[in-house]
Amino acid sequence: MPAHPAESAAAQLKRLLLALPALADDRAHPMDAVARRVGCDVATLRQDLTTLVTRVTDDPGGFTEGVQLLLTSDRVQLATPSGHFRRPMALTRLELHALELGLGALQHEAPPEERPVMRRAQERLRRALARLPHEPVASARADRYVALGRESDVERQVRRDLQRCITARCVAAITYRSARADADEVRRVQPMGVVWSRGAWYLVAWCERSEALRVFRLDRITAIAPAEERFAPREDLPLESVLRDGRVLVGGGDQVMRIRYSAAIARWISEREPVTPGPGGSVEAEYPLLDLEWGVRHALRYGADAEVLAPAELRTAVMERLAALAG
């Protein structure tokens, strides 16, 4: 769909108000570096600058009177004798509100002692708003709300401590309780980042004991102890690599769990999983099976609306557990 002319001019103006300050020193700059600062590609930047300075008539030159634009294949230099647009425009309300929304979400998740930082950041941002002299700074946007999910105080604390270790790239000893264990264990890990998926936060870390990438559910970690050692970043292991079909999974063999969901809940399952149709309106879905107990819990959560089809070992385990629970 072609952009509306006004929208297109607006987008151009916004980009130029970022590009012109980057060229304010009247020196030549690599085109790709300026484009990166603006957030567009080189061709778009070249087009915007050309549109700005190319006058199609002999009308008075306005802003571009005396402007010199030098474009080579990879460099750009702009000289503006009038000296305008050498600073970026102040924040617009929409820009301020977008950041306030993010700060609000972080504040919601942060432990009480960290919330003043978000509030202070918000106050400072408000002083960077483009506005008329007596125009009030609107309060935070009331028509948007962002919250990933509920976290307990322990989880908040853990995530905050982890964030510090991640930023400082320091090794951490985590106190973790696995799904099977009824006691904590301590592991030394190199925390690389946190991933939020399907309602839970996960720590992605290099585990020194297993010498492999591992993920840990944050709500199973009860304490973080930063160590003195620092670790080098691992560019070869991006955080996203732990996501498989939106699930956080690392390692595991080839075992696949296949479940049939009844027609009564098929529409909910279809909304979030890739499924194949089963008999009588049911649907079937497959998942990598890393842990038999996880499979049992998953199936039980749906009661009579889910039936494990494979592997047979899991099917048997579910039946045994159901027999015990039915008693």
């Binding site: 130029l16 483009a130 962002v146 999910g149 696995s178 939020w196 559910r217």
Partner: protein
């Protein structure tokens, strides 16, 4: 005759306004804006062009002031540099992590009109970190308009504080399943901003039926990984919540585009409406107290034991307030015996009945379905 691109007209107008400290009339501006000076048509058309340009620049956030002249006519215009340009930003301290922090030096001001009047805003490093994280968080939510605004804001700030763009990338990833169509979110955002009623087909998962809805959009909320539209449903005459990914055939009321269709009640609190709740807490059904015993404190039950309320004198027991009994019973069944309902007895029996029904399914399906 070829016409000047609007971009040139706008930059000429901005430059003509920024050049001056005091307000100017249209005739003065006309001489400096190429497209206005060269205009040979009717004056009324030229004035309409000027009015449209001002409106569109204001819509982009440019704070152009209208000022009264000596006869009290609102016919003069002003754009103060200190209101248009970003203040100078700097870190509160040079080398903030080094011992013996030293106050940052004043910023170098570029040559040109208006820059001397700009303020200096000093940020603490932890505030910058929060802003960078806030920008990334908004960018991960799947709303392209919001993401664009946040990214542009960060880019502006990064002109003085490049560290904002240098923050360790990927230290936090927020993955959203099946993000709704960006065009749909953008259209809803536009309807919200202009207070326009929207119509759409909505698939109710509870009823497994699709029906036409007419809604006054009061807010958009991203909760638990999904975007929800919150607003007044005309047919129900009540506030309702709609998952955006289940909305189809969205149409924004196109009548009287510039006038709002409704006002959001002053006391409406989006956060309170859309706040994250457990599935068994949702709905209008009567609330019942349920006692659950967690017999094992493993990695699965430990987080669950932080929900509900403690029961004095018994560390294994938690009290929950439940509106949807069946949903809660399924949740308990999912602990595979590590959690059991102690009261009420009827709900405990319901869990057992669920287990029997599920087992029965296996007895029926055993011959053909395994494998």
């Amino acid at each position: 005759m070829p016409t000047q691109p609007k971009l040139q007209r706008w930059t000429d107008l901005l430059a003509a306004l920024l050049r001056r400290h005091s307000a100017v009339d249209f005739e003065t501006l006309r001489a400096e804006v190429g497209a206005y000076a060269a205009h040979t048509g009717q004056r009324s058309a030229l004035l309409r062009m000027f009015e449209r340009d001002k409106d569109e620049l204001r819509a982009l956030g440019v704070p152009i002031e209208t000022v009264a002249d000596a006869e009290h006519n609102l016919s003069r215009y002003r754009l103060a540099s200190r209101h248009f340009y970003l203040p100078f930003l700097q870190l509160a301290y040079e080398a903030p992590r080094a011992p013996g922090r030293r106050a940052a030096s004043p910023p170098a001001r570029p040559r040109g009109p208006g820059y001397q009047a700009l303020q200096v805003l000093a940020f603490e490093p932890d505030e910058l970190d929060a802003i960078a994280r806030a920008g990334r968080r908004v960018g991960a939510l799947g709303d392209p308009a919001l993401a664009h605004e946040a990214a542009t804001a960060v880019r502006k700030l990064a002109h003085d504080l490049p560290a904002l763009l240098e923050a360790p990338p990927g230290a936090e990833v927020v993955h959203t399943d099946r993000a709704p169509d960006p065009a749909r979110l953008a259209a809803l955002g536009d309807a919200l901003a202009r207070r326009k009623t929207v119509s759409f087909a909505y698939h109710s998962m509870e009823r497994d039926a699709t029906s036409a809805r007419h809604v006054d959009p009061w807010g958009l909320a991203f909760v638990g990984g999904h975007w929800y539209l919150v607003g007044r449903d005309h047919d129900a005459d009540a506030v309702r919540q709609f998952r955006v990914s289940r909305i189809a055939d969205l149409a924004v009321n196109a009548m009287r585009e510039q006038s709002p269709d409704f006002a959001v009640p002053a006391g409406f609190d989006l956060a309170a409406h859309a706040g994250s709740r457990q599935a068994w807490e949702l709905g209008d059904a009567e609330q019942h107290e349920v006692l659950v015993r967690f017999s094992v404190a493993n990695g699965v039950t430990l987080p669950a034991m932080r929900l509900g309320e403690p029961v004095t004198g018994d560390g294994e027991l938690r009290r929950f307030r439940v509106r949807r009994a069946e949903v809660f019973a399924r949740w308990i069944l999912g602990f595979a015996g590590a959690a059991r309902i102690e009261a009420p007895a009827a709900l405990a029996a319901q869990v057992r009945a669920m287990a029997r029904a599920a087992l029965g399914r296996y007895a029926v399906g055993a011959a053909g379905s395994a494998g």
